[in-house]
Symmetry: none
Subunit: 192 residues, 4 copies
DNA sequence: GATGAATGAGGGTTCATTCAT
DNA sequence: AATGAATGAACCCTCATTCAT
């Protein structure tokens, strides 16, 4: 009889929001942002069209929601794995995590890369990608320096580019990309 | 007043078709496939909307036209540069051409990469990319073998992935990607 | 903890209802009936959307509520000001009250005039206006007859029309309408 | 076989545009701007919804089109009727034209007055009304001065307001407003 | 009495595509 | 070959209204 408490409402809101975000992620990665209509998302989420606008001001806003959701969910590439004593160990861990991420969360890759390219206005995605890359590159440089590389910066770039190429090729070649063997090869190549 | 010859007609047709394709390329790379309307293309090409349907059955068909056009235009990454005597020279040439292509024809890169990801129905683009990659990879393997690399296949993959990563990063970082230095570094790294 | 008495409930009801009506009046006159949503009203009234439907069956119903509210509030144009002895005095009082109303309650004017025209279904507003006008006109006729006007009815019409023209011009011209001077001029013209 | 000439296209465009404007005028005056949908207009004009956007950028733009159309159609209140010799004759003509306009083109009145009040953003309608009023008032002042009125300006205001009141009352009372008798009464009152 | 999440019809607008000329 | 008026399906979004709590 009495109205729901604020906490109850909050929980309901979170659940609905999540349903919508998950549906949107699924569809965007399956069929592209532009080929997915609000009606599609609503149906996939089992929710009315109108409700979506209770949580997102605009269709593009849903993307922002997805990114936030993913960041909150873990953002697992970035798990810290510093190793003061052994730079080799640290580099190995960085590479391992990157491959693990691509394999385990391949759909995120397949979602974000196209999104970044598909929606030009969405500079904020590019900004996130750029910032992460810069941070990642910085760490690579440090580690490679400690490993004694002379031109550590350029070597970091080649490694970084290669790791960036993986999701791209992966989204085209899928299983034909020999990920496992590549990972092993990198360990060997860098003596890890 | 004399009726135009078949050849004249054919020439007119080719000219109009080219105008449309060039306009579409320009706009797709500037503003994305989905954000470009047939009306936009018509205006950019200085042609009526109706005429476009005289040459292309559908909007997506224009993409096919673009790809064909680009292939016909020279496909310059693929210029043969075999060098039976010196594999080093051949690899150097392959790398050089790749970088040259990215720099000179950056807009094509910025056009094709998004297109490949944006339009899922367009498996044929993926197929083209895949075929080219396979060919390119094959050549890399051969060259690296001749250069004495033990695991030439995996080394070719790393190099290929890296070269694929460049356009991706380039379309995000633009001038902040140190392309020139990267090219030089690769020459040094592979002793070319 | 003791249950509220019926009277207390009734008071609460009245208070909420009034809050809603005042909010709606404010917004309708500020931004038009059609540009004001139930959500806007709820926010302005500091009340939930649901509650509004506790007091009004429909959005249009709120208008009925506003009209009733205004009538109950005093209907101040219509304050009786009969003066058996001096028709001049009576006419002067009628004119004075009209001008006073327009000046003091300008927002009501700006609310009702558009409303009457905007919402055709709302014949009842037109009916009210019509009835008031007829009554007002009747009084004018009587007064003017007593003042000796030969064609009192037509003179009453001209005066009535003029007084109707004021809110209309007022809602367009605002302060550029020389209300004060007009009032004085009318007194002079009718020798009041 | 050959494409239509520019002139032919121009004629087609004018015709379609007019069909749409006439349909919109009809519906706006019958059921209010806000209660008329683009679909309604399309149906009334016997045209597709899409075509309307070939001629008007936006729904509000149609109003601008209507106003322009009406101005181009004649704007008949404003027919010059100067009479250097006899101000009485000139005033009589002004009043006559006003009444004629209201009677003959009542739908325009019923269209524009609500429109001006319904759409607040549409300052341009208000501006037109204001400008016309100022002009009209100015002429009234001049004429009344020549007729010897002492406070010609205020007298002009009362007359102007009254003439403004007519369309307002007319849109509410319709035929119950004794227009004919009012007109005659004014002639008599002003000795025309 | 009160809340706000949820619904769904409907509105404005866009745009690929057709077709008469 | 060429034009651009015309179509209509589809899309994003708004909002009055309902209802479980």
């Amino acid at each position: 009889m009495s109205p729901r408490t604020t906490a109850q409402f909050e929980e309901i809101r979170l659940k609905s929001r999540e349903k919508i975000i998950l549906a949107a992620m699924e569809l965007f990665s399956r069929q592209t942002y532009h080929n997915t209509s609000i009606a599609d998302i609503a149906k996939e989420a089992g929710v009315s069209k109108g409700l979506i606008y209770n949580y997102f001001d605009t269709k593009e806003d849903i993307i922002k929601g997805i990114v936030e959701y993913m960041m909150a969910m873990g953002d697992r590439i970035m798990v810290e794995s510093r190793n003061e004593d052994d730079p080799r160990q640290e580099l190995r861990e960085m590479i391992r995590q990157t491959f693990a991420f691509i394999e385990e969360q391949g759909h995120i890759t397949r979602l974000m890369v196209p999104l970044a390219l598909e929606i030009e206005q969405f500079s904020f995605i590019n900004e996130i990608i750029e910032e992460k890359s810069k941070y990642y590159l910085g760490r690579l440089v440090t580690v490679l320096e400690r490993m004694g590389y002379e031109d550590a910066e350029m070597e970091a770039w080649t490694l970084g580019l290669m790791l960036d190429g993986i999701p791209l090729d992966y989204s085209i070649l899928g299983a034909r990309l020999p990920i496992k063997k590549l990972e092993q090869y990198l360990y060997k190549k860098y003596n890890l």
